[in-house]
Amino acid sequence: MEWDWNFVWEIMPTLIQGVKITILATLLGSVLAAIVGLGIALARRSPNKALSRTVGFLAEFIRGTPLLVQLYFIFYVLPDIGILLPPLVAGVIGLGLHYGTYTAEVYRAGIDNVPRGQWEAAKACNLSARQTWTHIIIPQAIPPMIPALANYFIAMFKETPLLSAITVLELMNQAKSVANTYYRYIEPITLVGAFFLVISLFSVVLLRWLERRYGKIER
């Protein structure tokens, strides 16, 4: 079977529709992952052992199981207990929870990286816990985290095709439906690959810039 450019132009608008949903899912998922990760990181630092252990185990569990199965779980099991979610919302929650467990580690490393002396100095200056966090710790902890966070958001972007399995009409699903309609697989699937490669390569450039601008987390 030959590569057909006319067919490519014909299906392009449909695929662009898919790209929009893919990017939307990535952005929403990133925001959720950033918040969930912060929640997990803070809970694990909590002096309450029961809380920190439970959250630690849950995070470990989510990180050790496949995103696809988690998406199925959210999409198929939750309706049984009365929570009916639209596909995109279920997908975003899945992405956010899964990558939240990864971003939690970034936060942890970033917070641990602030030298002890800073905590002690804050105490010496009689700052409250809240002031210590907002004025001393967070401003120093955030910048080195940015490249590592961006790295996970790019990884998340590459996982979005999984949302097609729970009927979100993103890029992969659009390509599949086009392919099934015309029974031509070469162009749609290859184009999906090309889209991902191009966007990933651009994001790598952005990532390099972020790394230069904010520096890497030292391990």
């Binding site: 199981t65 496949p66 696809l68 199965v69 198929y76 590459k158 996982e159 990933s200």
Partner: protein
């Protein structure tokens, strides 16, 4: 009450397929990792360029797209793969690309003095690599290889979408036949988690065994 024993047998069969895929994928990934990782450090420009292109391509597009490409597009250009072959190929090549960077990083992390010692002992490039550099670099690679193997295990869930009867696929079968969603999905989540724990436990004990003779060498 549904007859769960029969369905549980189905899920165990799926677990076997998942394990088989993980093992075969890991072997291919390991092979590709060393091939491409050493390729990136080669003296020859062509080898370096080939290795870089391979790594960037497979890290830049998602595993899902690669799997679909292998399964749906390759037949049109004359290469027909069974689902299992397509799965192992996509998983191995994808994770191999990530692991190749681990190999490169580990080899580069070995200090200059080790290379100088090789030269002083009149070892050839290959001899030095085989007897001095790699034994030390392997130990650096192992923990990250363990993480990569868990990523591969999680990625195997995706093959259920090209009709390979792995854990996730069997859970969907059980869901379709019984209408129950909580039991099958919870069961496979736990099985995946146990498999992930087994991998990290195995890698850690391997690490201990390999570190035995190297205590004096490592700072």
């Amino acid at each position: 009450m549904t007859q769960w024993s029969g369905y549980f047998g189905l899920i165990l069969q799926g677990a076997l397929v998942t394990i088989e895929l993980t093992l075969m994928g890991s072997v291919l990934a390991l092979f590709m990792a060393f091939l491409a990782g050493m390729g990136r450090l080669s003296r020859f420009f062509v080898l370096r360029a080939l290795a870089t292109a391979y790594i960037e391509f497979f890290r830049g597009t998602s595993i899902f797209v690669q799997l679909f490409w292998a399964y749906f597009v390759l037949p049109f250009i004359g290469v027909s793969l069974t689902p299992l072959q397509a799965g192992v190929l996509a998983l191995g090549l994808n994770v191999g690309a990530y692991a190749a960077e681990v190999v490169r990083g580990a080899i580069q992390s070995i200090g200059r003095e080790q290379y100088e010692a090789c030269t002083a002992l009149n070892l050839g490039r290959w001899q030095g690599m085989r007897h001095v550099i790699l034994p030390q670099a392997l130990l650096v690679m192992l923990p990250t290889f363990g993480n990569n193997a868990i990523e591969l295990l999680k990625a195997t869930a995706v093959v259920s979408l090209i009709s390979l009867t792995d854990l996730t696929f069997q859970a969907q079968v059980v869901r379709a036949q019984t209408g129950n969603t909580l039991v099958p999905f919870t069961t496979i989540l736990i099985i995946y988690f146990i498999l992930a724990l087994l991998i990290s436990w195995g890698v850690r004990s391997l690490e201990r065994r390999m570190a035995r003779g190297l205590d004096g060498v490592r700072a």
